[in-house]
Symmetry: C2
Subunit: 375 residues, 2 copies
């Protein structure tokens, strides 16, 4: 871990909170954005955590994310709402939308709130977990910039389109949070850095042919030449490509379609994010005894964890288990941040007039990162 520095959760929280306030958010808003980002780091999902700080800052500078925007409820029933995010910060809009879905579900049993004209909202699981923390079933999904190529196509028409589902259980909830692509762009970037060939079934080039060359695929994507990442299920129907593509479509239905928002293929055009989200909350009480349901799931999850393992394997995980273990470890031992990210945070802090040493420590000053984007 030579390329990493370790910070306590509190240290990073203070840094992010203050940075987001410097961006122009209120104290409460800054707290929400920080919570989403740091939950990702705590869960061990480095790609969606502090690593994204600078990207958010740059999107604000470019005017893609509007700090002052206030989400507006444009249609509402007791079981539903449509929110126009007016190009605000995804996390703030999504938090408010999920809070609304929770409030409605508590009253009528279930509710679906959909959002248009937002921006990237971080990890989908954060919002599903919000409902679950209150004993409810939470579902959260978002579309994203186009990167998934539909089965037998050669240009990206859907996003990574993650869907997260959280369901109360003991000793920890079921929390399934996954992109509907076979892998995410972050994985391609890691393989590119390591100069490793991509696995079969991950990506295609601009002709639509299978491609194991990470650099080539990333160039295709970045230069809008075509190509992209395959759906969960890979390149052909034999391995279920149409199923991953179907799940990507389901994310689209409950985000861009029902909100009359921007479908993934048209996001990011004209300097507008256009990202859409969907939040479904169900109170298990509407099926009778919520405690019995929780107990029933807990027993099944335990049976899964205890089921016989494949030879050479020591563990069957249930969804959300790895995240709980990662979180406990990181709250105790701190969160490791890639030095490139620390350097970016330092450059941003200097730009914002924050005291680097008190936030990130003396060592942060001497890290040689990539060329600073703050010039």
């Amino acid at each position: 871990m030579d390329n990493y520095m370790t910070y306590s959760y509190e240290k990073l929280k203070k840094f992010c909170d203050d940075a987001f306030e410097k961006f122009g958010f209120t104290k409460k808003e800054a707290g929400i954005i920080t919570d989403v980002l740091l939950l990702s780091d705590l869960f061990g999902i480095e790609s969606h955590g502090t690593q994204r700080l600078v990207r958010y800052h740059k999107s604000i500078e470019k005017g893609m994310i509007k700090v002052e925007a206030k989400p507006e409820v444009v249609f509402e029933t007791p079981v539903s709402a449509v929110i126009d995010g007016h190009e605000g910060m995804g996390q703030i809009i999504a938090y408010q939308a999920m809070e609304m879905a929770i409030e409605k579900a508590k009253k009528v049993g279930m509710a679906l709130v959909t959002v248009r004209n937002s921006n990237h909202y971080g990890i989908a699981g954060f919002y599903a977990k919000m409902a679950c923390d209150q004993g409810l079933i939470g579902i959260s999904t978002t579309n994203t910039n186009p990167i998934m190529v539909p089965t037998y196509g050669r240009t990206a028409m859907l996003g990574t389109n993650p869907i997260a589902i959280a369901f109360p259980a003991e000793p920890y909830p079921f929390l399934f949070d996954a992109s509907t692509t076979v892998v995410t762009r972050g994985k391609l970037e890691v393989y590119n850095k390591l100069d490793k060939p991509l696995h079969d079934g991950w990506a295609i080039d601009s002709t639509g042919a299978a491609c194991n060359d990470a650099k080539k695929v990333l160039t295709c994507i970045n230069d809008h030449l075509g190509g992209g990442i395959l759906p969960l299920g890979g390149i052909s129907e034999d391995s279920g490509s149409h199923k991953g593509y179907g799940w990507g479509m389901v994310a689209e239905l409950f985000t861009s379609i029902i909100s009359l928002g921007t479908t993934s293929d048209k996001t990011g055009l004209g300097g507008k994010g256009g990202i859409c989200h969907g939040f479904l909350v169900i109170d298990p009480k509407v099926f009778g005894n919520a405690d019995a349901i929780k107990e029933h799931l807990s027993q099944y999850l335990e049976a899964l964890r205890n089921a016989p393992k494949a030879e050479g394997q020591t563990r069957i995980y249930t969804h959300g288990e790895k995240e709980v273990l990662a979180m406990a470890d990181r709250m105790k031992n701190g969160i490791s941040i890639n030095k490139n990210t620390v350097a970016e945070m330092r450059d941003m802090a200097q730009f914002l007039g924050m005291d680097v040493v008190s936030y990130l420590g003396e060592e942060a000053l001497s890290i040689k990162g990539k060329e600073s984007v703050y010039k």
Copy 2:
């Protein structure tokens, strides 16, 4: 198609309707079961159509499916219901449950009805389509006998656990209906008959090792030795195995868990099916203009079909398109039924005292099928 005989839809409908009445179902019940089976044949999903007739009959004879059972609503709110199927015929219970979900959704905007103690219900898509035919968003899911091995396990703990989602669109709806396993057992049986090696990422043997030998995997499954079919995403997390396993769990949550029913790993024990279903219906009106939403989706689906194709490919399908094309063809040109299935239907018809020639034609008498199960 030497191994097939072709019948008109009407001919098969008459046969199935009358056969189910002979089983002891009312005229209305028989009509429902037939509709589910024949939609599968019309869609080109041979495995779930008339091919299953004899299996249903045998399950009734064994007492696993109880003809006289009446589904009972054991818990209900305006947005939900829990139905105990009392071990009745899956199609009848599921039809009633979906009708109830539709009725509630029309009143309050959305509803989720869950079912326990049922039996196999045919194709999940039939019930999702019921809602869609009325301009609503329909979701249908079921658990099944255990066949999916969780990632890094070696015994089946989940079923094929299909999930179907139908959403109104023109010129035909979006209808995604897929098992959450990478393939279904039927595919293994086909490869076994053809003596073809299974694709990588489809199945494992009783030790949990990858296995391309269809006969071996089927023996493992049939003799309860362990092994089974892998989740969508194959054998490792690198190809997204944990995601298919996650979707299988989602099916479980909305079927066996919230109904306090039997999880897939415990279905079929003690001569009891124990299959559970879930039906979610959402009225798009609760998001404003249902027509505009339908139009928005229709345009996106068209953009997908028109998107550039991979080299060597001529078509990008949207979900439900193949089924619509197959149905139009079969309504016009008839439905091809495997001669083994025709022989089974003939033997069953003779057992039930039906006039084989008038239902299935002269030729049916001379087909040499497998040894009759009606002795």
